[in-house]
Every structure is written in structure tokens, then in C-alpha cells.
Symmetry: C2
Subunit: 135 residues, 2 copies
Amino acid sequence: MAGNTPDFPDRLRAAGLRPTRQRVALARVLFEGGHRHVTAESLHAEVKATRMPVSLATVYNSLNQFRDAGLLREVVVAPGRSYFDTNTGHHHHFFVENDGELHDFPSEKVTIAGLPTPPKGTRLSRVDVIVRVRR
Amino acid sequence: MAGNTPDFPDRLRAAGLRPTRQRVALARVLFEGGHRHVTAESLHAEVKATRMPVSLATVYNSLNQFRDAGLLREVVVAPGRSYFDTNTGHHHHFFVENDGELHDFPSEKVTIAGLPTPPKGTRLSRVDVIVRVRR
DNA sequence: CAAGAAGATTAGAACTATTCTAATCCTTGC
DNA sequence: GCAAGGATTAGAATAGTTCTAATCTTCTTG
Ligand SMILES: [Mn+2]
Ligand SMILES: [Mn+2]
Ligand SMILES: [Zn+2]
Ligand SMILES: [Zn+2]
């Protein structure tokens, strides 16, 4: 297991981002442990609980930068707020409409057949499957 | 073709909504002609062009009421704005990320196999497939 | 058809999520 | 250590949407 410890400053540098204290604190919350789905507000609350002062503006800046660097992906499932997903691989989502929870499911077992070809002059970017459920 | 003329006051009454002048004007723009994908702002611009004065608040109210009555469905594909879809049947969407355009495609030919069962205590509500494309 | 009651519309204020501004602060390469 | 450029921040600004409460319309009933 040597070399498996995540070095957040290095990971940020590798992504072309300076490892500032705020970005390292955010990366820690986001990337140590399993995959996460966070909103700007929920991440802000979590990182503040670690006693590292980070402004909400920096949370937004960092989420957008992490996404642009490919460390996160943005998921839009409900009007009014964006989720950011630490799982950047191919997968799809359950969305529990009552409480706004997002859960991954692997795209391996899912087969989508018969998708029409993209409109003239466009290239496929991504296929999102959102399974909406209610309690 | 007799009896095929859409009577918007009657359609609104059948949906449990009073056929006010504003709602009839909005229904006309939305439902005469083929299926549409509109935003509140785009619909407001269109209905104002018919010289019927309708406030933006009424456009929002009506869109939400039409959706609650099952005349429209709401589609969330991009952060910050909702689309309303006059096609309430089963179908999926192309989303052209550059210009924000939505296009339908029928769900008939699309087969989705191997979806996992919903999380414990939840019931399936809807499955959305969004094919994101870029120019 | 005349009221009157219930419901709808509206302007503008309020609200929420997000971005911007521009002043201060940190990180980095020398 | 010292710039210099990048990052952070508070607070203002913006965009989409909802709310408030006053006015207006539609519908029911006599
Ligand atoms: Mn963004
Ligand atoms: Mn709504
Ligand atoms: Zn995910
Ligand atoms: Zn559609």
C-alpha cells in the first residue's frame, strides 16, 4: 500500500492548480474516502467544520476549477442547484426527488441500445441516465 | 377532421384551470402546432408578441400550474434554468450544450436494459435519458 | 343580468444560487 | 527574503424564480 496515500498538494499541482490551503482543505474533504456528491453549500459547511476558514466564493471558484480540470463532474438534476460529483468515470444516477439525494450506479450492467444519431453538425459529448425515484 | 379543432378554454377547464385570457393566450402559443420546449423568458417574449399583455409572474404561475395539471413536463438539463416541454409522453432528449437547444427523440426505439432496482423504500418515478452533444 | 365571492393577474419586492469586483493576502521562483 | 503573479475574500451584483398584497376577472347564484 506504499505510495497509495493521497498527496493532495501533488494532485492539485498535477491538475495545474496551486495547492493553496483552501484548495487542499477542499480536496481533502472531497477526495479522501469514497465518492461524494456535494453542493457548494454542503461542501462549504463541511470544510468550515474542519476549522479551516474558506469563503463561499472560494468554494464556488474551486468547484468550477476542479470541474474544469477534470477532478469533478457537474450533475444537474433539480432546478436551482448544481451537484458536483467526485466520481468522474462512466456511471449514472438515482435521484431521490423527496430529499434531493443522489446515488451512483455503475454503467457497466446498463445497456442503452437504439439511440438515434446526433443532430447534423453535432458530436456526442455524454449520455446521462437519471433514474428518478420517490419515497 | 371535425371536432379536431383545439378549444383551449375547454382544455383548460378539463385540466381544472379557469380559462382566463392570459392562460388561453399561453395555451395557444404552447399547444397549437407541434411540440415545444420553452423557458419562462422565451414564452413570455412569444406571448407578448401576440399583443396580449401577460406579466412574467403569470407566465411562471401558468407554467407551474400547467405542469402540475399534467399539460406540461419540466426538464432540467442545464444549471440555472428550467425548460417546459409540451410533449408529456415517453421520450428522451438531445441537448445541444452550445446553444441550449433541446430536441426530442422517441423512446420507442431506445432500449435500456439492466437498470438496478431502486434504493430500499423508493418507487420509480421516471427515467430520463439526456444525450448531450456539442457543435 | 347584478352582485358577490372566489380565484387570477400584476408590479414590484424578496429570495436563492451563483458570479463578479477590487482590495488584500499567499505561494512560488529566484 | 522578495518580488510578481495568482488566490482569497467580503460584499455587491446578477439571473432565475417566487412571494406579497392590491387590483381585476371570472363564475355562481338569485
Ligand atoms: Mn458553473
Ligand atoms: Mn417550479
Ligand atoms: Zn455520481
Ligand atoms: Zn421533449
